[in-house]
Symmetry: C2
DNA sequence: TATGTAAATAGATGAGCGTCGATCTGGAGC
DNA sequence: GCTCCAGATCGACGCTCATCTATTTACATA
């Protein structure tokens, strides 16, 4: 209803310039967008999304040897995906001995989750 | 505290099998993960995330000619990103005449948003 | 010390992405 | 009709990604 929200071009044919003046935001959030896009990109693969899902449902540490057989993928590939998630700051890991354990760093998803809702 | 949540290998050295039995989920959500990963992937670029942000803040239709000058990118590149968002079902578009208008399809982000929180 | 094993790393390959300039499409106005 | 313009599409380029096999690393146990 409000024409303000429609954001139509202000002139029907501007002379010597773009079709309309820049009414929309210079945007406060260039860096914020990069941060959140980094998170979204890491979640933008079905395997990684399911990894995060499993890790979140088990609010503790999960052994890698539990995660690998969940997918029809080689062990290095799963390891690769876990590394991606770790680089994005979404998960953390420990390796006290022979086995490695991964867990979700819940704070990492906070900003993105809030923006999305 | 609860060992059940720790998901450690059940045996210290399994004989003739993987290090532990598959205790974690066969996972109900293979297709759901694909759906949500598709959304996340589309949001996994700073430009597209900012496009969605701008479109959401203007809960109406926004002219493309308003969006292009927001970024230091060529018009075809912005158009390409808008197409990606459209293919992901995140935005829709109309082109009644010379100008094209884009808007957010809020339902699309619902499932992903809920999963994330 | 030697052996076995879980996980990470290395290297390769084929597919996809982000970006650009150039071109095409189709509505608007003279 | 012809011209102008907004937006979409095309083709190309360099880079990143997901995946694999093969190898390496480091811990455990005998």
């Amino acid at each position: 209803m409000s024409v303000d929200l429609e954001l139509q071009p202000k002139t029907k044919r501007a002379a010597g310039g773009p079709c309309c003046e820049p009414v929309v935001y210079p945007d406060v959030q260039r860096e914020q967008a990069q941060r959140m896009a980094k998170i979204a990109k890491a979640l933008g693969d079905p395997v990684r999304l399911q990894l995060v899902d499993v890790l979140r449902k088990h609010a503790g540490k999960v052994c890698v040897c539990e995660l690998v057989p969940l997918f029809d993928l080689s062990q290095p590939t799963v390891s690769h995906h876990l590394k991606k998630l770790k680089d994005a700051g979404i998960v953390g890991s420990e390796r006290p001995g022979l086995w490695a354990y991964y867990y979700v760093k819940t704070d990492a998803l906070e900003e993105f989750s809030q923006w999305l809702s």
